[in-house]
Amino acid sequence: MFSSKSKGNTRYRLLSMLAAAGVLTLAGAAQAEETFKLGVVTFLSGPAAESFGVPAANAAKLMVEQFNKATAPAPYNKPGFGGMKIEMVLVDENGGGAKQVQELRNLYQRENVDAVIGYVGSGDCLAVAPVADELKKFLVLFDCGSPRIFEDASPKYVFRTASHAAMDNVSLVRYLKAHNVKVNTMNLINQDYAWGLDSRADFLAGMANAYPQAKMGADLLPKFGAGQYGTEVSVLGGKQADITYSSLWGGDLQGFLLQGAARGLFKDTTLVLSAADHVLPGLLDKMPDGSIIGARGAYGILSAKSPINDWFQASYQSMHKALPVQAGYRMTQAFMGVKMAVESAMAKNGGKKPTPEQIAEAMRNSTFDTPGGQIRMALGDGHQAIQGTAIGKTKYDAASKRVLAVDVQTFGAECVNPPANMKSMDWIKAGFPGAKCN
């Protein structure tokens, strides 16, 4: 039997529980209806669209669909971002840095997006990073490679969920050495802008350590989008070298390979390409066998088998009828990083939509698994990711009509990325001190 007091207490408790349940239900309903508006910026037009921009946009569409339907594997299997439906605003990156600065302001101030993931071009990344900090808005750079963003500045609201470009060339140099590739002479061809020049500098600094005897043959710097490489092929053909290194990408790389192959350029030299996976599905048997290639990460044909990678490849292929290449992987890991950060921040703030400060705090120094391997936000005071990578040789398989990767070697993140207390170029020039390679 209950006393009147206890009856009153019980009634009070019941009412309180009902009220609490009601509040929670209402809160849940409100949260269920709440959306997380996400700006996504990538090249939808221009020369970078085909190779990077559109594959990245395709991956973004896939992530939005899979996250909203809660069909991604654990730990990404909660709906949307922490129960909030993701609403994507897709913006074209074409048009240059000044335009991107204005577009980013529009996204934050007119579209009222909660966060932005974007930018393939290093110049665009360098231009927009200070804007996000000025507006105190959350920004994730998903693709651009310039190390300078976090080595020359310390933005508070800006993160990059992929390794910077130093990794690409350090891993190539390590691969050449590990596989006893003879390099007494080398030719270089890189585009005459930030990406090409930075890649060239990283590769040369790495080679100076690993192959001090290697002599330079041709060192060509065609303009971005040159298209015609007849003269370059003549120069390279006239200076036979053990390897021909290039950071060309997209249409430039395809044009160079087609024109070089037509003149037999690659018969007597081994191609060493820092970012070539994305041209393989189109080139097929036109890609010289035995070329040593990287994908700026353990992506695509260089990726390791894992449940999350199997899911990503299968769902991407189902949606877009193609296998994902590097930019798609990097977009995916940006989405996963943001999802983990938002949900981690919500777990700490009582389930409310987190502020940019709370998301940034949650992302700093975080670690998360992705189709391309584990991402650790380890550099730049926890704002810059490091990750493992893989290098392999190409081999065309006529039966499956695909270019396969053979002799693939994977490198741990701490083997090919600088430590937190060193700038990448200083680290490469010093001979990779502190590198942990198993």
């Binding site: 020369p47 669209a49 085909e50 060509l220 710097l221 007849g230 003269t231 120069v235 044009g255 087609l258």
Partner: protein
């Protein structure tokens, strides 16, 4: 040889641009877009020819036909449907109209062909390569040199040795006087613009086997073509030929001797020509008609 091969490609593209300027006084910014459409059309045509099992040599015919198809559909449509509405306006207005057209055609190519690249290297493979002074020269490069020479000679012959050509030259010299003599100016404009479109499309079509055909083709072409026609003199066919050779030689020398100034070398030559010959190498100063 590199310079000649590069100049040949440049000449085919620039010839159309300079012809259009000579006759219509339009600095056609959309010329690069038409070049890209020619490349896409050729890629489609060659892919179709290969899938139908036609002999490999037919791919060359397919590329030629695709350029003709682009010219006869796009040329009259743009000239009559758009540009004709702006004749008589300031040349800057027409420049802006063609710039708008350039932007629109960029998106049209994406809508029609998507953003994925097209590879049609089969025609280039027909020619193999030849050993010359210890260096392998692409047979297809030599073929393009011949094609450029044929284009230049036919254009020169038609303009200078046929009645139709002389009518075009009369229109170039003085359209008002030509009209008063009974020349159908509109027809000359349509034909000249269509020939210009054909040459741009032909350049794109025969470049397609050497490159991956994808968005962004048009921008680099239009910039370098401007350099050629400015060096040679706007509206001058001989000028386009010499301008292409000058640009080809400057670029090749730079790549061989000092690769870091490759791009700079082209504009250095252009600046030098403009200092001493502001009208270009093959254009003389003209008295203004009142």
């Amino acid at each position: 040889m590199d310079a000649v091969a590069y100049a040949s490609w440049l000449f085919i593209v620039s010839l159309g641009m300079t012809l259009v300027f000579g006759v219509l006084k339009i600095l056609n910014m959309a010329h690069g877009s038409i070049y890209a459409i020619g490349a896409y059309a050729a890629a489609t045509a060659v892919s179709l020819a290969v899938s139908l099992g036609l002999p490999p040599a037919f791919s060359l015919v397919a590329m030629l036909l695709s350029a003709v198809a682009v010219a006869v559909t796009v040329g009259p449509l743009l000239e009559r449907g758009l540009l004709a509405r702006y004749y008589g306006r300031d040349e800057v207005v027409l420049l802006l109209v063609t710039y708008a057209l350039f932007l629109m055609l960029e998106d049209v190519t994406k809508l029609v062909w998507g953003v994925n690249p097209y590879y049609v290297s089969e025609p280039a493979q027909l020619f193999g390569n030849v050993l010359f002074a210890g260096m392998r020269i692409g047979g297809y490069d030599l073929f393009l040199v011949g094609l450029a020479a044929v284009c230049g000679l036919i254009t020169w012959y038609v303009l200078n040795r046929t009645t139709s050509g002389k009518i075009v030259l009369a229109v170039i010299h003085n359209p008002e006087m030509s009209a008063s003599m009974g020349v159908n100016i509109q027809r000359v404009y349509v034909v000249a613009f269509t020939v210009g479109v054909f040459l741009a499309a032909l350049g794109g079509a025969f470049t397609a086997p050497m490159i991956s055909v994808q968005p962004g083709l048009s921008v680099s072409v239009i910039i370098i073509s401007f350099a050629v026609v400015i060096i040679g003199g706007l509206g001058s066919i001989q000028g386009a030929a010499v301008g292409a050779l000058v640009v080809g030689a400057a670029r090749s020398l730079a790549v061989h001797l000092m690769p870091e100034i490759e791009l700079f070398s082209i504009y250095l030559v252009m600046a030098a020509v403009l200092i001493f010959r502001p009208e270009g190498l093959f254009q003389s100063v003209k008295a203004r008609l009142i």
